[in-house]
């Protein structure tokens, strides 16, 4: 149920602009890997290459390999749609479908793909996913109301519920807590610790404490200056990165002596 991701010398481009340069990293299954680094260093960009979401931007392309349990996501004949069914994603900004109710939003992955599922199983899945995202208690009485009527933080948890309802192998989360209060954040963090029993989880965060709390492995990305590509500076067990990193820049960034 959980797969390993390996990238080798991955370069990511927006047209002529190289946003990320030569990233080689291994992301272990059944663990939480955190990406940290200054704004604009390419964390989101790199994350989006892991489920082939990068290429939906016109002119954007990728050079190099991303292996999912040894299978190259960018190999010939690979269908990005199939990739995305295995590698789920939660975005930086909550994006529930405005035409759908809360329940329909959770079931979106199934309904939009025209998959059939008995009514009882659907209700079951909705409850399980919403509980998983710590939203069930708040919305159980209004499952048929529009998802866009929720607060920002609730919408984000709805999006998490929508992603885990697909039961992906890997879950990518791009700053999932940046719009959440401390209580929901804690709930999401607990959720991550739970989910990592089954899934591979990658999270981008600007919150050092969060990275320290939830992640097993931390990867630090940095950028030399505007216009130059982002690079993976250092990756290692979170304890080590936060206590005795090998690279000075990592230490500066983590201790707040940056720039």
């Amino acid at each position: 149920m959980s797969k390993r991701i390996e990238t080798t010398d991955l370069n990511v481009y927006y047209g002529n602009f190289r946003a990320v340069e030569d990233v080689t990293i291994t992301i272990e299954p059944r663990s939480v890997t955190a990406f940290i680094g200054p704004s604009g260093c390419g964390k989101s960009t790199f994350l989006r290459t892991l489920n082939r979401m990068h290429e939906v931007i016109p002119g954007a392309y990728v050079e190099g390999e991303v292996l999912l349990d040894g299978e190259n996501l960018y190999g010939p004949g690979v269908d990005p749609v199939r990739v995305r069914r295995q590698v789920g994603m939660v975005f930086q900004r909550p994006n529930p479908f405005p035409t759908m109710s809360i329940k329909e939003n959770v079931l979106a992955g199934i309904r939009l793909n025209n998959r059939r599922m008995p009514k009882a199983d659907q209700d079951d899945l909705v409850e399980r996913s919403l509980r998983g995202a710590n939203l069930w208690e708040e919305v159980k009485n209004r499952l048929d109301l529009p998802g866009s009527g929720l607060s920002g933080g609730q919408q984000q948890r709805l999006c998490i519920a929508r992603a885990i309802a697909m039961e992906p192998q890997v879950l990518l989360m791009d700053e999932p807590c940046s719009a959440l209060d401390p209580i929901s954040t804690l709930a999401i963090e607990d959720l991550m610790s739970e989910l990592k029993e089954q899934y591979t989880i990658v999270i981008v965060t600007h919150n050092m404490q969060q990275a320290a709390r939830v992640s097993d492995v931390t990867a630090f990305f940095n950028i030399a200056g505007t216009g130059s590509p982002g690079k993976l500076i250092e990756v290692g067990p979170t304890d080590k990165i936060f206590s005795a990193p090998d690279v000075q820049a990592t230490e500066d960034y983590i201790s707040g002596r940056f720039g």
Binding site: M53, V56, T99, L112
Partner: protein, 352 residues
């Protein structure tokens, strides 16, 4: 050390009493009327209104500037100018509605909607053949234009973003928007002449002519609407492993549907009153014709034109029918707009 110098230390400013606007409005109207009589010796309404408006602008400007200050004065000036322009723009519409109503009502009766003009010379008769003709011809035109227009818009907005083909299509659609309606009519007439033999006129030919006019409108409005759908929704669907076409059908279109419907209705309203192309392509007849593909078919605009341009001996009867036809046409457009609004509201994304 730079310090900010405040113009005035108080937070309050003078306010004009609420009655100022109505009082100065009435005063300006009376004074403008008096001045108009003084200048021209008679009651010239247009001049009186213009003078009253200018006086009102002047009075409000001075009063506001003195009591409330220059910023509020410019605010009022802008407000008054905008309201003035709005009223000026509404005048022709009001006059048109009044004219059509007063002249159309006399023949807006049951026979008008139950009889055709078959064997009618002079008074009596009706326009049922033209009403149905308009429904058939525009309905068929909509059936042709909406799929073509919508699919083109989907291609432009979703698949061919910024590629050569979509640039070319956009260019030709723009050219099509500018095609004079008479040319569309001639095109349809010539096309049907080629297909079915020279000189053939039918409701379907009229539909083709209207489609030529309608398609670019549908393409343009739909494309704009599809582009308004936030990319985040598409990405959300892709991230769930939904293929592109399903994303378009199940996420993009439902999100935009209310606007798409309004766009289509506007496009129908735009072509339903076309006269020249229908005159050529669909021709005219005095009898009911339920077959779109054979024989000429009467439509409301052509009916109005024909009644007005070729009255028989009883001129007034023909002209009354023309006005009643015009009234019917306006009503149909109005009903379409209302229906469009209702549908749009029904489908609009809900937040509560």
């Amino acid at each position: 050390m730079a310090t900010i110098v405040h113009a005035a230390e108080t937070l309050t400013a003078g306010r004009l009493p609420r009655a100022t606007v109505p009082v100065s409005l009435v005063g300006s109207v009376l004074l403008g009327y008096a001045l108009a009589i003084l200048f021209t010796g008679g009651a010239n309404i247009g001049l009186a209104v213009a003078l009253a408006y200018l006086l009102f602008l002047l009075v409000m400007e001075i009063a506001t500037r003195v009591v409330e200050g220059p910023r509020q004065a410019s605010d009022r000036r802008a407000t008054n100018l905008v309201v003035g322009a709005f009223v000026l723009a509404l005048l022709p519409l009001g006059s048109l509605v009044w004219e059509v109503l007063s002249k159309g009502i006399p023949r807006f009766d049951v026979p008008f909607f139950s009889q055709s003009m078959r064997n009618v010379v002079g008074a009596g008769g009706g326009a049922i053949h033209a009403v149905w003709g308009t429904v058939y011809v525009t309905g068929m035109a909509t059936l042709i234009s909406v799929p073509i227009g919508l699919l083109t818009a989907i291609y432009l907005a979703e698949y061919g973003v910024r590629n050569r083909l979509s640039k070319a299509i956009t260019f030709f659609v723009d050219v099509m928007t500018g095609v004079p309606s008479i040319v569309a009519g001639l095109f349809a007439y010539a096309l049907m002449g080629l297909l079915l033999g020279p000189g053939s006129r039918s409701g379907f030919a009229g539909s083709i002519a209207l489609s030529v006019l309608m398609i670019p409108v549908v393409v343009r409005s739909s494309e704009e609407l599809l582009k308004l759908v936030p990319n985040e929704l598409r990405e959300a669907a892709y991230a769930l492993g939904v293929p592109k076409w399903l994303t378009i059908v199940k996420v993009v279109l439902p999100t935009a549907v209310s606007g798409l419907v309004s766009g289509v209705i506007l496009a129908i309203a735009r072509v339903i009153g076309e006269t020249a192309p229908l005159l050529i392509a669909a021709g005219f007849t005095a009898s009911m014709n339920n077959n779109l593909f054979e024989n000429p078919m009467m439509t409301l605009p052509v009916f109005v034109y024909d009644s007005y341009a070729h009255p028989g001996t009883d001129v007034q009867a023909y002209w009354d029918r023309a006005w009643a036809g015009a009234l019917t046409l306006i009503l149909i457009v109005m009903i379409l707009n209302l229906a469009g609004r209702l549908i749009a509201r029904r489908f609009a994304p809900k937040t509560r």
